[in-house]
């Protein structure tokens, strides 16, 4: 009897918990990060777009090599809207098309952020996008510029 009462109380609390509104999303800042020191020169929107489309970009004598961060769906969509100005399927088509045309490798894709950080440390001139709070966790990463700041809906 007591067990049944506890079970129903638990179920009721769970339902109440589920019906409560979810937490408001925190404000986020999407930043461009790199291990390399690119001086104080920021990348123009055009340079950024070209870099993430796999086109060679030179900044302060450093050959920029873009690395994709697909560890977070929201981050990925903001990146697509703010950096490459395309939808995901078209961006992929563009990368594949370029690879076929030029034979060059397109920016590698990282689904796990730790792997991305490891790649940024090992690839010379490697840049990627990341939430600022994640970038601040690793002192080796330099924030080059802020790409977007806001509270996602």
């Amino acid at each position: 009897m007591i067990r049944r009462g506890l079970f129903f109380t638990g179920l009721l609390l769970m339902l109440i918990g589920m019906s409560l509104p979810a937490d408001e999303p925190h404000e986020g800042t999407l930043v461009l990060v790199s291990v390399a020191d690119l001086g104080d020169g920021q990348l123009t929107p055009n340079q950024l777009r070209r870099a993430f489309l796999g086109i060679p970009v030179l900044v302060n004598g450093e050959n920029i090599r873009a690395l994709r961060n697909t560890s977070d769906p929201l981050l990925n969509e903001i990146f697509l809207q703010k950096v490459v100005y395309m939808s995901e399927p078209r961006y992929k088509r563009q990368l594949v098309s370029r690879t076929f045309r030029t034979g060059q490798m397109h920016p590698p894709d990282f689904k796990v952020q730790d792997d991305l950080v490891h790649a940024l440390k090992s690839v010379p001139g490697g840049v990627s996008v990341m939430w600022e709070r994640d970038a601040n966790k690793d002192p080796a990463l330099h924030v080059i510029q802020v790409l977007w700041k806001g509270r996602p809906r």
Binding site: T44, P45, E77, Q81, M86, S87, R90
Partner: protein
């Protein structure tokens, strides 16, 4: 309806329907979802690219004037619902709208993110020296894409229902093609079980398994017919002489009496008892006795017409049924039989003479039933036996009459 669903066709139709009710919505649902995603992706692609192209106008060095003109054109063409240009300090410089009221700006990153039917996007504006001079805020109407998706879903649902209906119809037809020959087979089996072996089993189908089953059933029917005929023959004929036995004789007498009554004919019945057969049997053995009986049967049978019946009643007793026969003809046949049985018997190197005592009874004079006629012929035969030496005797009443 309940009867239909208990048939093979019904069951197949239900199984197909159930399968398709599960599989088809999954398939169509999956395809429709992909189509919807594709529409949304196309919309987002258009929005992001269009916003980027418009924002890039500011880099041509004409300030916001050229961009403002382009935005006006875009608003007139209707693919942008509202637009705003704000400077780097956040002050609104130019605003335009195609809708009654533009919502407060909140950027979207997914299709249908907010329930405001607008996809809102912000693009930074730079001058020719790549200095940030402000932000372009645009609102694109999601309604056409939503309508397109809805229309696709509606068409998809109609197609799905049509597909299920066609599949159901085809399955029913196939089920019937399967069930009809099975039903015919079942009917044929029932007829065979009831003893109706005559109808040849015919099933119209091109399904080889059912054809084979029908062939097997027909083969079984043929075997049954053959066995049945054999059994019937054994049940109605004497095993030793091959002549009809008492059972068949009874039937034939009944049939002959019926015929005689209908056509007003007379009918004769002769009862024949072999003389001295017991002595032969006792002295020369049963095998010789059997051979004598076979020979006697052949001789008796050779004296009668095709329409007559020669039967063995048992032991050394035989009977002759002579339909449509007068008393005179019956007596003539009786004398012929008597003469033939008085001829020498040569069996297994033994030669001996037998004879026969024959009693005659007539329809309608002596009786009008098998039992009565047999009884009268029996009495006449015993009277002949008493006379001895191949006597032919009428039923006593007639004898006294004659």
């Amino acid at each position: 309806m309940k009867k239909f669903f208990s048939t093979l066709a019904g069951r197949i139709a239900i199984a197909a329907l159930f399968l398709f009710l599960v599989m088809v919505p999954l398939l169509f649902g999956g395809v429709l979802y992909l189509v919807k995603k594709n529409y949304e992706s196309q919309f987002i692609d258009h929005v992001r690219n269009d916003a980027y192209q418009l924002a890039s106008i500011s880099q041509w060095g004409s300030g916001f004037e050229r961009l403002g003109n382009e935005l006006e054109e875009a608003l007139l063409s209707g693919h942008i619902a509202f637009s705003r240009i704000v400077d780097s300090k956040g002050y609104l410089i130019i605003a335009g709208r195609q809708v009654r009221q533009a919502p407060s700006f909140e950027e979207d990153f997914f299709f249908g993110q907010a329930e405001d039917r607008f996809y809102q996007i912000a693009v930074p504006l730079f001058d020719a020296s790549s200095e940030r001079i402000g932000e372009l805020q645009l609102g694109y109407d999601e309604t056409p894409t939503r309508m397109q998706t809805r229309q696709t879903y509606r068409s998809g649902h109609y197609l799905m229902l049509g597909f299920i209906a066609v599949i159901f119809f085809i399955t029913m037809l196939l089920g019937r093609q399967f069930a009809n020959p099975m039903h015919q087979l079942s009917e044929a089996s029932r007829k065979i079980a009831q003893g109706d072996y005559d109808a040849r089993l015919q099933v119209r189908t091109n399904i080889s398994e059912i054809k084979n089953l029908a062939k097997s059933l027909d083969h079984m029917r043929n075997e049954l017919v053959q066995k049945n005929n054999e059994m019937q023959h054994l049940a109605q004929h004497d095993h030793l002489t091959g002549l009809p036995n008492r059972v068949l004789l009874h039937k034939r007498v009944d049939a002959a009496l019926k015929g005689a009554r209908g056509e007003d004919h007379s009918m004769a019945f002769l009862l024949i008892d072999l003389d001295r057969f017991k002595e032969v049997n006792d002295t020369l053995g049963h095998l010789t006795g059997d051979a004598v009986l076979r020979l006697a049967a052949e001789r008796i049978h050779s004296c009668v017409r095709e329409t007559d019946t020669a039967a063995r009643l048992g032991g050394d007793e035989f009977a002759l049924l002579l339909p449509a026969t007068s008393g005179g003809s019956a007596e003539a046949i009786a004398r012929l039989v008597s003469e033939r049985l008085q001829e020498d018997f040569n069996v297994k190197d033994h030669q001996f003479k037998l004879g026969a005592s024959i009693g005659i009874a007539l329809y309608p004079e002596h009786g009008d039933s098998y039992e009565r006629i047999l009884h009268c012929a029996d009495i006449a035969m015993y009277a002949a036996k008493r006379k001895g030496d191949g006597a032919v005797t009428w039923y006593p009443e007639l004898e006294t009459m004659s």
